[in-house]
Symmetry: C2
Subunit: 271 residues, 2 copies
């Protein structure tokens, strides 16, 4: 598959990159269809916000142009962008000025079963908890060992995703998805002020809820509240929305607001 | 400077390495003197423990042989070993079986002022707090954004190190060092069960205290307890021991147990 480093085809990068040394960087995983990056502005907005918080200089127009060219070259699939602080000498102190490095990797369209979208998925109850770190909360940064450990907890294909809670037991997200629940007509998604990744499809759903006058809240969610919900759904930028049907012995129906939101984001093909 | 990838001279590595994608790996920073890696067995023990906890397969004898050969090639300096889970496809699920990658990077002997060892150092009070994540606590893994952010908090060369506390305010460590304090003849170092890196020099000092019948404890340490301590010291495998003399408006003397421990670990040259 195609890979570019700093705008040129390359399969290799410097061993001194701080992305490798410290996970000192950010990434975006962008759906590409008909040669176009989907939700590009949301991805760029999140990237710019992350760079600002980590004090990584960003040439936004260069990244935008590169993503458009890369998507055109892929046609259909996934464009993963990794932006690191670039090479460094030994030691944590960031180089001044940093020369960030852009890495683009292509992958095929993920082969998720259509049933995930139509009939919903089972969640694995991960025992790996998310640590509370407000300084990094919401960012799609390269420090992802928690997700690696959580995803390694199950191999049963019957569970398409895993539920992640924080160290206090609050419900936060999936391993590679965000989570929403519906309770008495109210759409709720966990606040990501202590941990979690603020996904672009989550932002899209919140914007959609606002436009469609769907009552919604972003706040802490307890495990009991999740279990008592009328509907539960997962979302990410690759698959759109999956209804959540089961977690251990608990189950939920596919509810009407979930179906309505699936219609809005246009990922219901095949049901 | 010399770099090896999987035992061969190389300056580049695959863009698909999971060390870059997720920080999915570990590292060791080893002092090399007269062509020998110092504290090699402690470094290998920690690496093996980290690999076991992250389920990364480790060919320990291969790593040992490579470190010995690399140290011989360097002569004097630092050998940094990065061990990653190797290449992966898209997604957090670890490849089975993983083919870990070994990266070795040489650097010169760090040019720390001799006064740090002889007269002691000032600590910068970092506002970046360490998140509590027991699953990763103690490991020298590649998810180091907290240290990057903490080290970026100060540029005043008068502060040689920064003090890091956890999100509850407990005293944990330096940004690139471990911390001990002395209180009424008792040597105390913070427990690293929630966060922090369990350094090899910390292990060496604890072993030394046990051998020398120095009363010692590994437990939680409050900020007030740090301020009330009779002596405070930092340690790591590169510089040995630095007395801590000041933190903001607070100061400590260089105490007798600090000097005694410096004598044991043999880094007092120049005072």
């Amino acid at each position: 598959m195609l890979t570019w480093v700093d705008g040129r085809p390359a399969e290799l990068l410097s061993v001194r990159d701080r992305g490798l040394a410290y996970g000192d960087g950010l990434f975006e995983t962008i759906a590409v269809r008909s040669g176009e990056p989907r939700l590009l502005e949301r991805h760029l907005t999140r990237l710019a916000g992350g760079c600002a918080r980590l004090s990584i200089p960003l040439e936004l127009e260069q990244v935008r142009a590169e993503l458009l060219a890369f998507a055109a070259a892929i046609g259909e699939g996934v464009a993963k962008l990794i932006l690191t602080r670039g090479d460094g000498l030994r030691g944590y102190a960031p180089p001044m000025p940093a020369q960030p490095r852009r890495i683009l990797q292509a992958a095929p369209v993920p082969a998720y079963p259509a049933a995930n979208t139509c009939e919903g998925v089972r969640l694995y109850p991960c025992s790996t908890r998310l640590a509370e770190q407000p300084l990094l909360a919401g960012l799609k940064h390269l420090n992802r060992l928690e997700q690696v450990m959580a995803r390694a907890e199950w191999s049963d294909a019957a569970c398409a995703e895993g539920l992640m809670r924080d160290t206090q037991g609050r419900v936060v997200e999936g391993v590679y998805s965000n989570l929403f629940l519906v309770s008495n007509g109210l759409l709720i998604t966990p606040a990501l002020t202590r941990c979690g990744v603020a996904g672009v499809m989550r932002a899209e759903l919140l914007a959609c809820a606002a436009e469609q006058d769907v009552p919604h809240e972003v706040r802490d969610v307890s495990f009991d509240e999740l279990l008592a919900a009328d509907e539960v759904l997962l979302c990410n930028s690759q698959y759109g929305i999956w209804p959540v049907r089961a977690l251990a012995a608990h189950d939920w129906p596919v509810g009407p607001l979930t179906r309505k939101l699936q219609g809005f984001v246009g990922h219901l093909a095949g049901c």
